[in-house]
Structures are given as C-alpha cells and as structure tokens.
C-alpha cells in the first residue's frame, strides 16, 4: 500500500526495519483522520525505531519528519532529545534547526519545552534574546514565547542590566497595550522575591512609568491594572494607599464633570477609592452609575453588582 511514497520502505538504509502499523481496533474508530501516506509510513517506522530504542542519526531524521507533520506528538520530542544526548549531537545545531520550526509552528508548546531542555544543557543563552525578538515580530503576544522568556531570565540571571527591561520598554513603545509586555515587566521588577515589594525607589519608579503610559492612552487597561496591582501588593515602607490615587484618577474621571470622563478605568478606580469610606458611598454609587449607563455599558450588570456591595446604599447585599 505504500509503494507510491515509500520514503522509508524503499530505502536501502531502512531495509532492516520492520514497520509497526497503527492499531485502530477492529471496529469503528473515533476521530479517524485522513492521514497522508507519508505520515502513515513515517509513523510506522517511528514506532519501530522506538520499540528498538534506536539511538541513531537516521532515527533523528525520522523524528524531524514526524515533527514537521505532527509537532504536537508528545513522545517524539522526548525521544529526539534522548537521541541528541545519546549520540552527542551538536546542540547549537539543534537550536538553529529549532528556530526554523518555532517560526513555522508558532502555537506549539512542545517546541518550547524542547528548547528549554537544550538551552539548559548548553548552559548558555547567547542569541536567545535576539531569537525571541524575531518570534515577537510574528506575534508580540505569543504566550509560549513569554513563558519561555521568564524561564530564561531566571535560569541565566537576566533580571537587571542584561537588556530585559529595555526590551520590554521598546515593545511597549510600539504597542502600549501589549499586556504580555506589562506582565513581563512586573515579573522583572517583582519576580525575585517579596522584598521587592518593600523597595520604595523601585515602587515609585513603577508608579511613574504606569502613570506616564496612562497619560498616553487613558483607556488602556494594562497600566491601570498594573497600578492596582501595586496598591495591593506593595508593603512596608513602600506601601501605597488606595486613597493616594484619588487625585490621579480624578484627572481622567471627575464626578464634578461627568460628561468629560476620558477613562472608564479611572472611574472604576475612583469608585473603589470612594467605596472605602462610608461617607463617600453616595459618590461611589454615582461613579458606578456612570459606568453602567454611559462609560462602560458592556459591564452594566457588573457595575450594578458593585453598587449593591456598597455600604450604606440601602441595598447592601440584599440586591445582589
């Protein structure tokens, strides 16, 4: 049945291997796929070399063939890395090959796990940041790439002075709404331990950075979330109070000028600040009404719920 393609079964090099066909059972299989002949043949040979635990150059090439057709195959990657180490293959060459695969199959997890294994063994991250920039040219929010980048920072101590913060800032200069970049910034600044949240200088710098981004685009949620994260998590000498942001929020949302709100997120923050003090509950309700009816009607039900949680607004908890 494989006469036509026969990349393996007609090859002298593979003559010693008896392929193992897929067993899909005697009855009606579920999720049967119209496989290509190439794939069926290559998989039969893969099972055969795996069964022999073969550690060879030809088996390495076979894994590449499979990966190009089915990059999500969860053991072919493990098999491949075992062969690489068993045959003392060139790891830099593997990274070069992996670059082309990663650029081609962007949404694949296994590729990044494999890269992690190889780079860890190489014990060097030379060229990695450059390659990640190349990946970001295709998709600035690729989750696998950002996750890998976090591992890289920790593994090779890139926290400070190694271009990471600069890279994040240059991405945010191009797209201030890139939440992945904001998240990476948080990791770089606070990911090294709880004491980072007590560092007054550090926290002040971050507040200023987020405020500046908000001035550029007040309706961008990322820096608002960043500031609210800071309010929640900073402590000791660096602790920030919610109330200390009232002035800033009012720059974009003032209850005295309800027709000229320029950020729904400012209004949300203002509502939260006002809700802290019982005496301000009526104003908090005003802010939440503005959100529900005018500035963020998509979440009308949510703003009404928030209003129901206000102390002293009649409907405390009953309305929810």
């Amino acid at each position: 049945m494989l006469e036509k393609m026969a990349k393996y079964s007609n090859a002298e090099e593979w003559a010693d291997i008896v392929p193992i066909p897929q067993d899909d059972g005697p009855g009606q299989p579920l999720a049967a796929i119209a496989y290509s002949d190439d794939y069926v043949e290559a998989m039969s040979y893969l099972r055969a070399v795996m069964a022999n635990n073969e550690m060879s150059e030809r088996a390495l090439h076979l894994t590449e063939d499979i990966i190009r057709m089915n990059p999500a195959h969860y053991t072919v990657w493990l098999y491949r890395s075992r062969i690489l180490f068993a045959t003392s293959s060139s790891l830099p060459a593997e990274i070069t090959w992996l670059n082309t695969i990663a650029l081609k199959y962007q949404k694949n997890y296994q590729i990044w796990h494999h890269r992690h294994t190889i780079v860890d063994a190489l014990n060097s991250c030379t060229g990695e940041q450059d390659f990640l920039s190349q990946m970001f040219e295709l998709d600035m929010k690729n989750y696998h790439v950002w996750s890998y980048r976090q591992w890289l920072v920790k593994r090779f101590d890139l926290w400070e002075g190694k271009g990471e913060l600069e890279a994040v800032e240059s991405i945010l200069e191009r797209d201030v709404r890139n939440n992945s970049a904001w998240n990476h910034r948080w990791y770089l600044v606070f990911g090294r331990g709880e004491s980072c949240f007590e560092d007054k200088e550090r926290v002040r710098r971050e507040v200023d950075y987020a405020k500046e981004a908000i001035h550029l685009a007040p309706q961008n949620q990322s820096p608002w979330n960043y500031i609210r994260g800071l309010i929640r998590q900073t402590k000791g000498p660096a602790a920030l109070s919610l109330a200390s942001f009232k002035q800033f929020a009012s720059e974009f949302a003032s209850l005295d000028d309800p027709d000229n709100v320029t950020s729904s997120h400012a209004l949300d923050l203002l509502a939260e600040i006002l809700a802290e003090r019982e005496g301000d509950a009526a104003d908090a309700a005003k802010a939440l009404d503005l959100l529900a009816k005018k500035y963020d009607p998509i979440r009308e039900n949510y703003w009404k719920y928030r209003k129901s949680l206000l102390v002293g607004q009649g409907g405390v908890k009953a309305a929810a």
């Binding site: 999720a31 796929i33 999500a72 969860y74 950002w146 979330n225 503005l290 009816k293 949510y302």
Partner: protein, 433 residues
C-alpha cells in the same frame, strides 16, 4: 441619592433575533463522527481522544447522539475508547503511540498513558453510558499519583526514571483532579487500596498562580489567561475548594471579587483582528483602538499623530453597537469563540454568569462565529474547527443561552445527563458512599 444626569445612550437590550442552526450543527458533528476528519487534523493526531471527545460531547449536548447512532455503533465507540487504555493504568492520548506486542521495559517510556487522554476517555465513557467495567481503576489511581510533581502540579505523562513530563500549567491539574473525581468522587484517604493524590498541594499551586490583575495564569508571574483561569477554578471545584457562597476567599482563591472583576473585564466588543492591528504603533485612544469605550474616546483622548490619524480615518464616528459582545482570553486581545466557554464557565463556577451580558454574547456567537455549514470558527468569518465548534456549544449551554441544548456541567464539561449516569453506577455508589 443616585447619579446626576446620566444619559442612557446605549440600550444593551436590542430587539434582535439570532438563529441557532441546530440541524447544521448536527450535520457538522455527524460528519466528524462518521467520516474521516480532513488531513489538517493530522497535526493534532496525538490528541485524537480530545477530538473524539468533542465529537461525542457535542452530539450529546445537541441531544442527537442516540437518535443518530445504533447501539452497535455506540458499542464500537466504547471499544475504541478502551483500545486506548494503557496496560499500566490510564489511557493513551491516541493509538499512534501504541507499541503493541513490541512493548517492553526498555521502550515503554515512548508509549505512556496521558492525563488528557485519560480524562477525555472517562468523559466519553460517561456520555456513551458505559459502566466503566473495563477500566483498570486501581492501576489508573496508582498511575495518577506518579504524574504529580513534588510541588503539587501535575504533568502530562511519566517519562524516563519516573520524571513527570509536560507543562506545569493548570490544564493537567484540572484533568488530574477530574480523573480523581471520576474514580474517587470526593472520598479522602485510600480508595481501592490506593492513597489519594496530594490535592492540597495542587490547590496551593492554583493559589500562587493568581496574578496582580485578578486572573490566573499557568504558573506564578505568568500572564493571566482565560483558559488557565477556567482550569484552575474547575480544579478547585473538583477538589471542593471553591469559596462558599458569601465568602470572598478559600484555600485556593485569595480574592473572589478580584477574580470576578478580571473575568467580566474579558467581555469585549473588539471582535476582529483588524480592530486590534490599529493599536500597533499607535498610542492614542480612538474608537478604533478602544471599542469598549466607544462612547467617549472618539474625540477626546485622540492626539494628532500620524498613526492616530490613520486609525481614526475611515472609522465611523457614531457609537459602536453593543449587540455583539464576545470574550477575550487576555487583556487587550480580541474576542474568540472559545473564551465564551472558558470565561463563561468560570463565571458559572462562581455562580456569577448574571454579571456578564449573556445576551449580546449569544448574538456574537450566533451572528459572528457560527458558520453556515455548522460549527463555530475561532473569530468572525473563520471556518469551523472541532475545538471552537464544541466550545461554542458548551458556552451557549453553560450560560443558559440556548434552549435547544442540554445543560452542561460547568466543572466536568459534559452534559448533566452524562454526570447523572455516572452518579448512578453501582461501583461508584458503593465505593464512594
């Protein structure tokens, strides 16, 4: 006292009829069940049990599995699921890794049982009303303990020298807790002579993966993500560690209100990639960049830059309609069909679906991503795929938006009918009391 003069400029409730094309969906899924899936699915061959699960679960939600299959056919489907059972416990993700009679101590590491394969196998057996009689339950529970890492997270498979392979993310934690629930319910201690996994440690993994903005990510400090948030919450649900009504925290979740705020923030009227591209290189707020703030950013935050002008030109100056509202998976991304499930089901687990705007989401799913041939695409105008086609149905069901669909269990992700079948199985009643 309430707010001063607030103009109600955006009535969300618009007289609008969206049509759920049930016959087309049934046709789409019967084609998946009874004919070969196209070759593009070859790249997901290793997840065939997942594709099979989508197919059976979708037809079950449509109440169209039994009417369109014979008992003999369903028996064959059950046999195929058992074909994927692994000799050392658990199930494979696909038959393609099966070394059959060639399997031995040296090579068995290339042919492991898989957490996702096992979870989907159990879901399928419940949907097909099997009695789980052929499941090697004891071996499965023993294997499950081996897929848990010392830090509490679960991986996907057990590799060389017992190393746990696969990501650390909550997908595997969710499905592992699901496997545990299928076989053990909420029993603690030994069941069938096998000790429990360390559920408390997994719960701790979820707790430390909460992000500064209220969502949950795959691991500490990673970006909050709708899919991981669902998996984390559903894992807590399986483990019985979601906060109780009226409580704002639990062992697994530090601040429910913060998480709810993050979940409702996932609702967006930014529906197309084109909309999002406008933000690239453009720092200004315009209606093109901020559909969710359509009513006020148009003329105000706008700064007179070249990019700002480009994205402002040719854009309607009137308000965007809120007839169509989708969910995104991360902050500042566009809507995507599957997040209606991931986020909608998360809200359902917290009993807060009513805080979203479910009706505009129904319009989004049915008018924008439901496909003419049946199924759903990822975003407006995309062709259907199995993943989004199933999760589109699941989303409509979990938010109670479609009467023609069976209710779905928000934790297990199968119909409540299938859960009821499972609950009645004698071995389960006996073992779990």
């Amino acid at each position: 006292m309430s707010a001063g003069r607030v103009e109600d400029v955006h009535p969300i409730v618009v007289e609008h009829k969206s049509h759920f094309n049930k016959p087309r969906h049934v046709k789409y899924w019967l084609r998946c069940l009874k004919t070969y899936l196209p070759q593009q699915y070859q790249s997901t061959d290793s997840n065939r049990t997942m594709l099979a699960f989508f197919t059976l679960a979708a037809l079950d939600l449509l109440d169209s599995l039994k009417p369109n299959t014979t008992p003999e056919e369903r028996e064959q489907y059950i046999d195929w699921v058992y074909l994927c059972q692994h000799p050392d416990g658990g199930f494979r993700g696909f038959p393609g890794s099966d070394l059959g009679e060639h399997r031995n101590e040296e090579n068995k590491v290339w042919d492991p049982a898989n957490v996702a394969g096992t979870y989907f196998a159990f879901c399928m057996l419940a949907i097909l009303e099997d009695d789980f009689g052929r499941v090697n339950k004891k071996a499965c529970l023993t294997w499950l303990r081996r897929v848990q890492r010392p830090d509490g997270s679960f991986g996907e498979t057990v590799g060389e020298e017992g190393k746990v392979e696969g990501g650390m993310d909550p997908r595997f934690g969710y499905m592992a807790m699901g496997i545990r629930w299928f076989l053990r319910g909420r029993a603690t201690g030994d069941v069938m002579g096998v000790p429990d996994v360390d559920a408390d440690k997994l719960v701790e993994c979820v707790r430390i993966s909460q992000t500064y903005d209220g969502g949950i990510s795959e691991a500490p400090f990673h970006e909050a993500h709708g899919g991981f948030t669902y998996c984390a919450l559903a894992a807590l649900s399986f483990a019985g560690h979601l906060p109780k009504p009226g409580e704002n925290s639990s062992a697994g979740l530090s601040d429910v209100n913060h998480t709810i705020a993050w979940l409702v923030s996932r609702q967006t009227a930014t529906l197309e990639e084109e909309d999002l591209l406008d933000t690239y290189g453009d720092e200004t707020d315009t209606i093109a960049t901020c559909h969710d703030a359509h009513s006020f950013v148009a003329m105000k935050g706008f700064r007179d830059t070249k990019n700002g002008k480009d994205s402002f030109d040719d854009r309607p100056t009137s308000n965007y309609h809120l007839q169509w509202v989708g969910f995104n998976g991360r902050c500042n991304k566009i809507a995507d069909t599957c997040y209606s499930w991931w986020v909608g089901a998360s809200l359902s687990l917290l009993d807060k679906v009513s805080l979203a705007s479910p009706d505009p989401n129904r319009h989004y799913l049915l008018d924008k991503t439901q496909h003419i041939v049946g199924g759903f695409g990822k975003v407006a105008g995309n062709p259907p795929d199995l993943y989004h086609s199933f999760l589109g149905l699941a989303a409509l069901s979990v938010m109670g938006l479609e009467k023609e669909l069976k209710p779905i269990d928000a934790t297990v992700c199968i119909s409540t009918d299938a859960c009821t079948h499972l609950a009645k199985l004698p071995w389960r009643v006996e073992n779990l009391g």
